[in-house]
Symmetry: C2
Subunit: 553 residues, 2 copies
């Protein structure tokens, strides 16, 4: 365990400690004493993880401006103190608020939460890392900007910038977040401020409209890396469409996965569908609505087939459940509906849901409730409204219960916080080409591996682009159960190993996965390290982050 | 003049020359003697430019494989010989086949012209730099792949990879070429082969389907830079749509520019329109059909207003002329047509053109021709067919005559080669936000600057994305007229200077413009140089390319 090694090294490290103390004093001068956290309880909170082990930082520093970030970086560089920036620390299941190794200084950018600019005409915003999904959404709605954002399932308190730099994705046509950023401001390891795209030209007019700038495009360097602290990004937004119609398709048969994925790919390639489409299995949808049926199974794991079948029936789920939406003018959405019916309708029943239809159902539910009926319809209406919200880019807490699937006993009251709920969560997210055959191949690896380790596969396939399918599956465990946690870690290892061996590489990973990214030719990771060394010769910035060649101490 | 300085330096450079000779011998060993060009005539041909001055290379080396490129790079590194890769050398008006400075070794990748892979299901290809637009288009058609590519106006002999690395654009929904690449193979300055995205994982399944890979995304580094020799890219293609309908809108009044750009932006933001839309002024369209009316103006320049008005009338052109197309299923295209009519039809007349309509017109023309009429209709049908081809991604020579606008006297017979035609061509391509106001501001700079220097503004505004407008305008001159060429260079300087001062930064530039890219903060270009130095410490690779801080000798 890295922490133990650190403790052993303390005696040798006395002068280093004195230096660290001086550095913390310098950090305090930069941001104010009240914004340097060294209190043990607070550090323990920052160090909590949904992974198998916590990872306590040396300190937390909370700058409020780009200038303060520059000061922090310079002070840390002088002291050789490793820095690890977080936006809101809600990177659930991918490291949460933790650095890859203990003893780093967390740079919590939560106070940098300015919405710097919103342009309703060109449909973009410029935001700082501390801006949350909920904050931007409220801002856009309250000011009547006529703009929609895209939200992930990480909840209203999660950062947009943080998710974007990790290449997260949501549900709308703007679901591929990294593809919809435009211009970054980055504080480099030596304290310089880099502006990408056209941003380094004072008064450039198209900084937030045109991504590439002129000369090499550097934005990609700051995604999934530790090359700098991003303090601002431009983000494209969707003008509220005339029409937004959600669609839901239930595939009763597991074998429908292949033809469904193939049909959806064709519709995406022909631009009938244009958003990220989610195809979740029964367990994935269930995990959002309930937890593992500990009582019903008498504590047995993995989930027995008959209980799974019963739950599927009771919740009205298919083996596979498709959710997405159509966005656009009334004419274009109506046309896309017709094409969907033509291409999918013969084989599957498609349920279209929009505000109007939900309104009708709601009025009907109200009528039925007067005579003591309508409870089920009411639940469906509420559920439909929740999902439609997500499809409209409104962040909700709806996906967070999914993190608690394997947690035993009562959950703490209030909105779900995976850390307080003791949720154990390890995402495994391999990318496949968008073909039914490839999806099946992934399932053939994932399903047995989960079962072998006493878990069951919670799986979503998302068509993030017309050609790529991201399979998002998670090892869910109760952190208070050491045996289950150990099995979870082993299951994670086995999943990543088997998937990568078969060519299904993760689109993203938590700290447990960084070391596994080195396979085959080392040129790519060598080059990434050379580039990082050019910008951060002392390795002060996020050491170990997405660096499989990094020796964790 | 750089070349003069070089000659002066020759005496000092004797040992260097001997080293260069040894290096050329090593290059010959790597690729075969017949593929190292040192013959003076051939070098002069490679050194021809559409810019004001030619730029002769030291030698040309023509590797056939990635391995040969590695050998070439290693040999050059040993000798400190600067290398400049070209794909097909058709980078018209942006440097053509020339390095930024004389005396570099051109690495002509024309022999690397393999179409490595075409996947009809996932709609992509993997190609080498020597693959031409015409070659890929023919391949896709002849094999019945059901895939369309996107073509630029550079003609059938131009390279797709070269254009993509320079961030060129075309006309279809895949018009933003850089946005549709997926995975690169790059030979670095030390001879290592880097594969980006998932490509460095042997057997990775989604290499050509998912762009980012895992960890930092490095592709942007190899666009508009000299960081390596790209020997292979993945390129996404469009599945042939059920329907493709071209639309043409003529704006009679110059003042229509603002409302038209604003209306098109809205239609693009709402995804009614999804391709690169071109809005050309009368002169831009004219330059594709005819040359400067030297006789009619009695040699006077710039073009007198009355002649311009007459030409506009005779050619049936508007002050602004919009061309684009709708692509998709029959239902979706019909819906988009209705929305276009609703949003634009009250103010402007939209002409929709598809194969069916062209077929009708052609039959009518044939009938009329029998009675000695129909010549005009025939011309229109031919023109319509040419433009529709371009809108369908079929490369044509149709835009090349535009390069010859100011050339006097007869052109050489055969297909147009701007170099043989003595065409002088300097593109100025500022990016603006997609708003009518910004477009007008650009015109208010461009128009007077051209006239001041005795030229007239040939202008296209392209909505390359929903938010960005690229203004493509060119100083056109006759290279045999030294006075005009000098004025052209001065005009270029003034245009770039005035546009950049007002915040309109070019999306791309030729060698004349590299030095002008340094303005304001130097951090961006300093960082670009640091990254390049990390990969190419001896500066062997494309010295000076997109490097405003490079001292041209």
């Amino acid at each position: 365990m890295p922490r133990v090694v650190m403790k052993g090294a303390v005696e040798q490290a006395r002068p280093q400690e004195a230096r660290a103390r001086r550095a913390l004093a310098a950090l305090a001068r930069a941001v104010g004493t009240e914004h340097v956290v060294v209190d043990e309880d607070a550090l323990a909170r920052y160090g909590r993880s949904t992974g198998p082990a916590d990872c306590r930082p040396l300190a937390v520093v909370r700058p409020a401006t780009t200038e303060e970030v520059q000061e922090v970086v310079r002070a840390a560089a002088r002291a050789g103190l490793p820095l690890y920036p977080i936006a809101r620390g809600k990177n659930w299941g991918y490291g949460d608020a933790c650095a890859p190794t203990p003893g780093q200084v967390i740079v919590d950018l939560g106070r940098m939460n300015r919405i710097v600019e919103v342009d309703p005409e060109l449909a973009y915003c410029v935001i700082e890392p501390g801006v949350t999904q909920g904050q931007l959404c409220a801002y856009l709605q309250e000011r009547g900007t006529g703009l929609w954002m895209d939200a992930t399932g990480a909840g209203p308190d999660a950062s947009l910038v943080g998710n974007t730099l990790d290449r997260g994705f949501g549900h709308t046509p703007y679901g591929d977040h990294a593809a919809n950023t435009c211009g970054m401001e980055v504080v480099l390891a030596d304290g310089r401020v880099l502006r990408t795209g056209f941003g380094h030209y004072a008064g450039a007019r198209a900084t937030s409209a045109y991504r590439y700038g002129v000369g090499p495009s550097l934005d990609g360097l700051f995604q999934q890396s530790g090359m700098g602290i991003v303090t601002r990004i431009g983000l494209w937004l969707m003008p509220a469409p005339e029409a937004c119609v959600g669609y839901f398709i239930r595939c009763e048969d597991d074998a429908d996965l292949e033809p469904m994925v193939d049909a959806l790919r064709r519709l995406r390639l022909h631009e009938v569908l244009r958003s990220a489409i989610h195809v979740g299995n029964d367990l994935r949808v269930l995990s959002g609505r309930t937890r593992y049926p500990w009582e019903r199974t008498g504590g047995v794991t993995p989930l027995p087939d008959d209980v799974r079948a019963a739950l599927r029936r009771e919740h009205g789920l298919g083996a596979w459940n498709v959710a997405g939406a159509l966005y656009g003018t009334r004419e274009c959405v109506a046309a896309a509906r017709r094409v969907m019916r033509r291409e999918l309708g013969r084989r599957w029943r498609i349920v279209f849901v929009d505000e109007r239809r939900l309104g009708h159902a709601e009025r009907l539910a109200r009528l039925l409730e007067r005579v003591g009926l309508g409870a089920r319809l009411r639940r469906q209406v509420d559920l439909g409204r929740d999902v439609l919200k997500v499809l409209q880019g409104v962040p909700t807490d709806g996906a967070l219960p999914g993190a608690c699937w394997r947690v035993r006993g009562p959950l703490p009251p209030g909105p779900i916080d995976p850390l307080l709920a003791n949720a154990g969560l390890l995402w495994v997210s391999p990318v496949a080409p968008a073909s039914g055959e490839a999806a099946r191949e992934v399932m053939d690896i994932v399903g047995p591996t989960y079962r072998e380790h006493g878990f069951e596969p919670l799986v979503t396939f998302t068509l993030i682009t017309p050609r790529a399918l991201c399979c998002v599956t998670n090892v869910s465990f109760d952190r208070r159960e050491p045996e289950e946690a150990a099995r979870a870690a082993a299951c994670y290892e086995a999943l990543v190993e088997r998937l990568m061996t078969r060519g299904f590489i993760p689109y993203r990973t938590g700290p447990l996965g960084f070391g596994k990214l080195a396979r085959g030719s080392s040129v790519f990771w060598d080059v990434a390290r050379q580039l990082k060394a050019a910008l951060d010769p002392d390795g002060v910035m996020s050491p170990g982050r997405y660096d499989p060649l990094h020796q964790t101490r």
